[in-house]
């Protein structure tokens, strides 16, 4: 099998319909249709709304990705699709489409782990001609970002996940060190935004409001950082207590008849999230003797989280890697990337009857 396989990847685990195409590690297309606007009025992703939108979007997104990459289906070496973790009904649209496409074209099909996909995003390189990042992307990398060195600690933070991984090998050795035991960090941003009367999605809104606030104004709790949590939850996260603490602060201000100090609350909340994320990630680096940290997931768009990671990694002598933002949010290219790595390593395709697994563990890189 070729070392530079041409692979199409399909991602439908949450509210983004993503189709990407890679040749080995070279990114050829990354097309995303998002149903985010349809969820805004509900204040969060509604699974049935997301699944309906995937079915509407999957075919146009496939066409758009093939056109963007300038390749035909015949040329593909394989097809990859997210098999989990994620919203079951949303995953199933992608899996149904991927199986139909694979059978029609006779191409091998790989079910791929979504979280490992976020790590794999860092392997992808833009084609020599363009750098493949969106205009104004604050994380747009220069043409040569160097190679991802392994092992690395990976911190994946999105609306659905908050996970800390130890990656020794992308397709053979990914270990889950910890994850959220309640809300995902992105979900906490959405819920706190609602408490403050700000629209969905909460991340950019909190970022904007926090610009005028003092991050030290209110000392919000850092979940699972007490000495008693060190044994069982050293690398786990919890944001539900933080969310409640914010609600108490907001309610107390309103009960007194005061204006809610939106800027201070937003800045102090964001600081609490950033602090606990980066503290635990660097603790994992220290514990495992791995001086490398990779960030992934949509919450990486948050400027303060990136900023604090840069500051603390520099101080700790840890090399920080952040893929371009267009590859941090959910996308099909990262799934194609893992698929290409599996093909290049000579791995067998997934059995044709693989299922959507909403809680697929990171140890299952391939379905």
């Amino acid at each position: 099998m070729t070392a530079e396989p041409l692979v199409l990847g399909i991602e439908t685990s949450c509210d983004e319909t993503g189709v990407g195409i890679v040749r080995g590690r070279t990114l050829l297309a990354n097309v995303i249709a998002s149903s985010m606007d349809e969820h805004a009025r509900y204040g969060g992703v509604v699974p049935e709304v997301a699944a309906r939108a995937h079915l509407d979007a999957i075919e146009p997104t496939l066409h758009a990705a093939l056109a963007e990459a300038g390749v035909t289906l015949d040329e593909l070496d394989a097809i990859a699709v997210t098999s989990g973790p994620g919203l079951a009904g949303a995953l199933m649209v992608g899996i149904g489409a991927a199986k139909g496409l694979a059978l029609a074209t006779g191409k091998p099909l790989y079910g791929v782990n979504h979280l490992v996909g976020h790590v794999g995003a860092d392997l992808l390189r833009p084609p020599a001609a363009a750098d493949g990042t969106a205009p104004g992307d604050p994380t747009a990398a220069s043409a040569d970002r160097g190679e991802l060195e392994l092992p690395t600690i990976a911190l994946l933070v999105s609306g659905g996940h908050t996970s800390l991984l130890l990656v020794r090998d992308l397709i053979d050795d990914v270990e889950l060190l910890g994850e959220t035991i309640d809300d995902a960090a992105g979900e906490a941003f959405d819920k706190v935004a609602r408490l403050l009367g700000l629209p969905y999605p909460g991340g950019p809104q909190i970022d904007r409001a926090a610009a005028d606030g003092d991050p030290r104004a209110i000392r919000f709790p850092r979940g699972l950082t007490a000495p008693k949590d060190r044994d069982r939850h050293r690398f786990d996260f919890s944001f539900s207590g933080l969310k409640t603490a914010v609600a108490r602060t907001v309610e107390a201000a309103r009960d007194r008849g005061d204006d809610v100090p939106v800027g201070d609350v937003a800045a102090s909340f964001r600081e609490a999230v950033a602090d606990v994320l980066i503290t635990k990630a660097l603790d994992a680096c220290a514990e495992h003797g791995v001086p490398r940290l990779l960030l992934g997931g949509g919450v990486v768009a948050n400027a303060r989280i990136r900023g604090l990671a840069e500051e603390r990694c520099a101080a700790a002598g840890v090399t920080l890697r952040i893929p371009p933002l267009s590859l941090c949010t959910d996308n099909g290219a990262m799934i194609a990337g893992v698929g290409a790595a599996l093909v290049a390593a000579g791995r067998a395709p997934s059995p044709l009857d693989f299922a959507a697994d909403s809680t697929l563990p990171v140890t299952s890189v391939r379905a």
Binding site: Y42, G43, H54, G94, G96, G100
Partner: protein
């Protein structure tokens, strides 16, 4: 040659050749394994029929009504298979496959879950068309009403009333369909193609809006 896929109830895949011949049909009655079974059933139906994907001229997709999560798997697979071979998709309401070739008026009834039934009423093929020599058009089911939802508890009374009325549903027979067979679905799609009445509408017949209510705002956490 046409590949037909339906996941309105269980999973059913068929290959049909022209408007009257089912070459292969495979059924999985389980209503909770569409994503798992869709691939193996497509592969098995093609193998049983001795047909390669390149020999397929069109794909028929059953549009429900049916439980949404499973229903979407078949429609997504049908669309993507058609894209993969560069051929069109024909959308077919699943109830029509059950009504196909019935001699008299029928009420097709399927489980819509949550103590509701989905139903469609079909009259007989138009007498004038039959009298004038029939033709393909006369062999297509005539949808008179539906698909609609009815509370299971109210269904008997509704259907009795419809069958008692004069009109196209007079004396209609009730057919409760636990499965939707892809064979008749494919034959129906072929007849529509021949009659020039194939539908390019591929939206699932959801019949229900997404189950979600707008929040009244965050709940108070302090007493």
């Amino acid at each position: 040659m046409l590949l037909a896929i339906d996941t309105s109830a269980g999973t059913s895949v068929a290959v049909v050749d022209g408007p009257d011949r089912v070459l292969a049909q495979l059924d999985e009655p389980d209503t909770r394994s569409h994503a798992e079974r869709i691939g193996t059933l497509i592969a098995a139906a093609l193998a049983d029929a001795g047909v390669t994907p390149r020999e397929i001229d069109a794909v028929a997709a059953g549009l429900g009504p049916g439980p949404f999560t499973g229903l979407r798997v078949g429609i997504a697979a049908a669309r993507a298979f058609a894209l993969g071979i560069g051929r069109p998709v024909v959308g077919v309401p699943a109830h029509e496959a059950v009504a196909l070739d019935r001699p008299g008026p029928v009420l097709v009834v399927t489980d819509a879950r949550r103590r509701e039934l989905a139903w469609s009423g079909f009259g007989t093929a138009s007498d004038s068309a039959l009298a004038s020599g029939g033709g393909v058009d006369a062999r297509l089911p005539r949808l008179v009403r539906g698909p609609e939802l009815v509370l299971a508890a109210d269904a008997d009374a509704l259907f009795a009333a419809l069958a008692a009325e004069s009109g196209p549903l007079a004396g209609a027979e009730r057919i409760d369909a636990p499965v939707i067979p892809a064979g008749p679905l494919g034959l129906l799609a072929e007849r529509h193609r021949t009659a020039g009445s194939a539908s390019s509408v591929l939206e699932p017949l959801y019949l229900r809006a997404p189950d979600v209510t707008l929040s009244a705002g965050p709940k108070r956490v302090t007493a």
